[in-house]
């Protein structure tokens, strides 16, 4: 059974018990929904398909929105949601790929998803699935703006830009939570100078997000900054 976007808050309530979800809990919700509903070529019946698209949630904090989308799309039973974080639950406060079907990486410690994503993108190319044209698998990595503080990301940004991985897309959900920010030009300036194709969209606008994810990076890795309201 596939749920609608409007039903996601109800699924999150099963996990958190909260009737209302603040901006922090839902900062990734629209990005996740658009990816799983419109963009990613992945489904519960092809979890091990080497040709599937990969979604890597690097920002593993606050995964309720992620679990809600996975449940809505049938990757995990909705009955798992109520036990969120309990001793018998597979759903922890940071996701574990070895426990949750459809989760591509275990995350939590910040700054690991993008560097791993570089390796996955390389690996898919090495396996003869170059991302030229629409049929090759793509790698999407979701990071937070504050997560980019971690220096490991800088290693990956410069390298991937120079190596030119066309099948790699980073989605940076920007809720302006980095204490020191990214200066004039924002996050995208740092990726652009490394040779990435960059764009910034409204992180709540599904049509804008979808268009940004589907647009070509002209053979370069792609950054989509998704602006959402600041942390309250």
């Amino acid at each position: 059974m596939s749920r609608t976007y409007a039903e996601l808050p109800g699924l999150m309530t099963l996990m958190t018990g909260d009737e209302k979800h603040g901006p922090s809990a839902t900062s990734t919700l629209d990005v996740l929904w658009v990816l799983y509903d419109r963009v990613l070529r992945v489904s519960p019946d092809r979890l091990d398909d080497p040709g599937r698209d990969r979604f890597l949630l690097s920002k593993g904090h606050g995964p309720a929105a992620y679990y809600a989308v996975l449940a809505a799309k049938g990757f995990i039973p909705e009955s798992w949601l109520a036990g969120f974080g309990s001793a018998d639950s597979r759903l922890g406060y940071h996701p574990d790929r070895n426990l949750v079907p459809g989760v591509e990486i275990s995350s939590g410690s910040l700054g690991h998803g993008l560097p791993i994503g570089v390796g996955v993108a390389h690996g898919l190319i090495a396996r003869g699935r170059p991302a030229v044209g629409d049929q090759a698998p793509r790698v999407f990595v979701l990071v937070g703006d504050a997560e980019l503080d971690e220096g490991s990301n800088s290693e990956a940004i410069v390298y991937a830009g120079a190596a030119g991985l066309p099948n790699l897309t980073v989605v940076a959900v920007d809720n302006q939570s980095s204490s020191w920010g990214w200066g004039p030009g924002g996050i995208e300036a740092h990726f652009a100078v490394a040779g990435w194709s960059v764009t910034r969209v409204n992180g709540r606008d599904h049509a804008e997000l979808e268009a940004a994810f589907e647009a070509s990076g002209d053979g370069r890795p792609r950054l989509v900054v998704a602006t959402v309201e600041g942390k309250s």
Binding site: S106, H112, P115, V118, A126, V158
Partner: protein, 302 residues
């Protein structure tokens, strides 16, 4: 004699030719040795620059995409600098790789502390699921590398190369190999410690057993050897002293035994010079090992 690093790069290059899923990830170190392989397999020989965190994470990603990555650089940069990446992007993910270090312990005696990581095996040992291989001779490297890549489906391996080497290679064997037999103690010589150990114990009534595979440790073999040698064990490791004390303790749990752990001390030496100078300072040359063994096993003779 061809050194371990050259044997390794030749063997890894051959694997790249044979196995379409094999990959090598580098961080500048040894990139020159892989230049030919990189020309043949540009998509599977990745030099990420001086970025060790990225090197390990990329290996994790390659493994998740179904490849068999070999990750290689200098020991402190492979194990210590990128330790959280080894812990999370390999072990925690369930992604497997072969980590191959050079620059063991005090190979870089002149380089100082920044280029020395005698705690490497202890750190890897703190993580679940790693096999640890410590070759004692360049001729042992090729087989150990191929074996490590061959068992990637079941786990990762740390392959620890050194500029130090025994006079002769031994046949590869996953357990303890008895090199000579005695009654008063069993001296376990790990990797390149075998020649100094044999020089040290020349006329002493002890068993000498050689180990290249230290994780998993051959506990069953040690139990048998210790039982025939008065329950007395001297562990001689070319890295941090006591690194394998806990596995010896587990192997001999419930049996009366005595253990002396010989290895690189924790205290920083702050001296330069040659590896031989450091071996002597650490008591890891033949004379130092003899002092340790006689003091521990043959106190009645001293």
């Amino acid at each position: 004699m061809t050194d371990m690093r050259t044997v390794f790069s030749d063997a890894a290059s051959a694997l790249l030719d044979e196995d379409p899923l094999a990959a090598v990830v580098l961080a500048e170190i040894s990139a020159d040795l892989f230049a030919k392989a990189a020309a043949r397999h540009p998509e599977r020989v990745l030099n990420v620059g001086i970025r060790e965190q990225l090197m390990v994470s990329v290996a994790g990603g390659l493994a998740l995409a179904g490849l068999r990555p070999i990750v290689h650089t200098y020991a402190p940069f492979l194990v210590e600098r990128a330790f959280e990446q080894v812990k999370l992007d390999l072990a925690h993910q369930g992604a497997r790789a072969v980590l191959v270090s050079i620059g063991a312990s005090y190979d870089a005696a002149r380089g100082g502390r920044t280029h020395q990581a005698p705690e490497d095996v202890a750190l890897i040992d703190a993580l679940p699921g790693f096999t640890v291989q410590v070759p004692g001779h360049p001729d042992e490297v090729r087989g150990l590398l191929r074996g490590a890549v061959g068992v990637l489906d079941s786990g990762s391996t740390y392959l620890r190369l050194s500029a130090e080497a025994n006079r002769e290679a031994l046949p590869l064997w996953p357990g303890l190999q008895v090199v000579r037999s005695g009654r008063r103690a069993v001296v376990v010589a790990v990797g390149p410690m075998l020649s100094p150990v044999l020089d040290a114990v020349g006329d002493l009534d002890v068993t000498v057993a050689y180990a290249t595979t230290v994780r998993p440790f051959d506990g069953e073999g040690l139990r048998a050897l210790a039982a025939a040698a008065a329950g007395t064990v001297v562990l001689v490791e070319p890295y941090l002293a006591g690194t394998s004390a806990h596995v010896v303790s587990e192997a001999l749990a419930g049996r009366a035994h005595r253990l002396l752990s010989v290895g690189v001390p924790r205290a920083e030496l702050r001296r330069y010079g040659q590896p031989a100078d450091h071996a002597a300072q650490h008591g890891l040359d033949a004379a130092g090992i003899r002092r340790s063994v006689t003091g521990f096993v043959f106190a009645d003779l001293t």
